[in-house]
Amino acid sequence: MSNGYHIVVCAGIVPDPLQTLEPVMSGSTPALKNEMLLPAVLDPWAAHALYEAANLAAHAEGSKVWLVSAAPKSKLQQVMMNVAQKAAFELVPIDAPANGFADAHSVAEILAQAIHSISGLDRSRLLLFGGWESASRGAGVTMQLIGEQLEITDQFQGVDRFTVLPDGSLEIHERIEGGRHLVSICSGPPTVLGWATGNLPEPRNNPQVGMANMRTIMPALQKTKSTSLTQNVRYLSVMPPRQQRQTRIVKDRSAEEIAAELLEWISQE
């Protein structure tokens, strides 16, 4: 494509997975205890989408990447300190309490509105990227809903590979059952791609890219107004799993003995 792609990446933020999560009720909606204090990261599969977007933009002249993120402003700012060094993008922030318990329909609506209002976005060149499933709600529905709202109906989820073919059409590999991939050819943008891991390693931090990004990120964050989300879900209970196993620790046994015990266990019906 001669004048490149317009790539919009939708990415939320999630608590660092090493943190202990404890649910608390905040009004009628659950939240995480000390949620605003938990260190956060860019949602992992959406982060892969961002790396893939940056890589694609670097190889298709005239392309541009926007990162649209709905999250509490102060947490988003923290996460951007790291993410801004990984890839060049323009941030479109939405200050909203979008955690795992927020309703995907409401989140999709504010994201679609934000994308709608990006000035200079050429819909005919639009590749709408995001994570396939988030590490918070993990529903895999937000990108589909945004796609429908923006009337983009060539959609792909669980994407691990995206290749631009010589004629400009797109070859897309989506995860399916049994560790296999479904291969489709789409004639071109606009498309929605919900990424899984993709194929790129996490880019190293590049302070220069970070500085350039921050020049637009900080003013965008300052300008963003706080938005509330409609809650359509009624939570009857939210609990961590109850079972904690009583681990039997087996030491000082020979490899033969352990193997025999494992064989017996594997063979039991």
Binding site: V141, E148, L236, A259
Partner: protein, 365 residues
């Protein structure tokens, strides 16, 4: 509120029947219809739906179908159009579907078209205060919630392995076919096949009784100061072959292949278990050379019996994450286990041969 239920399914890759996940979700739908006193309709999509529909003939329900070559393979536009047409015809308040990869990537779009609401990865249903409620996990299997919605239609996509599969008498089902004419732009995307990853063996086996998880320890320097990658590769592959287990990996291990480090050649991101990987369902799981950190172990939520082999007695598995932790060298344990499995296979074969001589009708393994 009087509810009506639509159950949706698609024909599987054989073109003749439905995926197992569909019969499991159908059993939940039948039970729910009974408890809510709701009507139940079935909608099926595929190139041909006759044989699949016949498997529901014993259920005594209304069956709607959309068929044709355009619906043979998964594609968002055609699947969404077919499912939308069925939903409009059935006009149900609750739509239940199995969490196959084909449906997971289209059902939310259909819900949006119907001005409905959707929840996926449902593990069970219940009736609370006369209202339907559903259970699902949040934060990657770390918090479990029971939810309700007032909005209708409510689309509920049910995870695999949560119910016994439904089975009933087969006959010739009455199918009401719905014509769905696709506009030309629906063919902007074309199906180009299914690829199996380029690996020595097919290592992901969703129906296996055992999940074997390999961690980054397999690629680390061992007590002799050396790495033993080729040995690790061959003993793991041998174990998979002898045991029929499905292979999972920790993130640290699968990431190494992305970074072009020396690594187990057959390990890909598709094998990754955990927070940013998969959450497979197998009755048993055996981990070796994996530390058992929380982001990894959340992927074990649906593994009932768990054992681990690790050199470190204080690894994550020791802290209530496994039933048994063997503090031992995995290289030695798996080598012994492979010889025991091989010996067992030989004994079984000999026993089969001997019993065949006594009873040529068959050998029960």
């Amino acid at each position: 509120m009087a509810e009506s239920i639509l159950f949706l399914a698609h024909v599987d890759e054989s073109g003749k029947t439905l995926p197992k996940a569909a019969y499991e979700a159908f059993s939940a739908a039948v039970d729910l219809a009974h408890r809510l006193g709701a009507t139940l309709t079935v909608g099926i999509v595929g190139e041909g739906v006759r044989e699949a529909a016949n498997t529901f003939s014993g259920a005594g329900v209304r069956i709607l179908g959309v068929a044709g070559p355009d619906f043979a393979h998964p594609r968002y536009r055609s699947d969404a159009a077919a499912l939308e047409a069925i939903c409009r015809e059935a006009a149900a308040s609750i739509v239940i579907a199995p969490a196959t990869s084909r449906f997971l990537r289209v059902m939310a779009g259909v819900a949006e078209r119907l001005k409905g609401q959707i929840d996926t990865h449902i593990t069970s249903f219940d009736i609370v205060d006369g209202m339907l409620s559903a259970k699902r996990w949040f934060y990657r299997q770390r918090l479990e919630a029971v939810i309700q919605r007032a909005g209708r239609p409510w689309f509920l996509v049910m995870d695999c392995g949560c119910q016994d599969a439904w089975s009933g008498a087969q006959g010739t089902a009455k199918i009401e076919m719905i014509e769905v004419a696709l506009p030309e732009n629906c063919r902007r995307t074309v199906y180009a096949g299914v690829r199996t990853p380029n690996i020595d063996a097919q290592t992901i086996r969703p129906d296996a009784k055992l999940l074997f998880v390999a961690g980054a320890g397999w690629c680390k320097k061992q007590p002799d100061g050396q790495t033993h990658l080729r040995e690790a590769e061959s003993i793991i592959l041998q174990f998979l072959e002898e045991s029929g287990a499905s292979l999972g990996g920790s993130k640290s291990l699968v990431d190494q292949s992305g970074e072009n480090q020396a690594v187990l050649g057959f390990m890909t991101h598709l094998n990754q278990v955990g927070q940013t990987g998969s959450t497979p369902r197998h009755p048993k799981g055996l981990s070796m050379c994996c530390h058992g950190e929380e982001p990894h172990v959340v992927g074990w939520r649906f593994i009932s019996e768990r054992r681990a082999v690790n050199l470190d007695p204080n690894c994550g598995w020791a802290r209530g994450k496994a039933d048994v932790l063997y503090v031992a060298d995995a290289f030695q344990v798996i080598a012994k286990l492979n010889s025991l499995l091989a010996a067992k296979a030989v004994r079984t074969e000999e026993w089969c041969e001997a019993s065949h001589e006594l009873n040529p009708a068959g050998c029960q393994q």
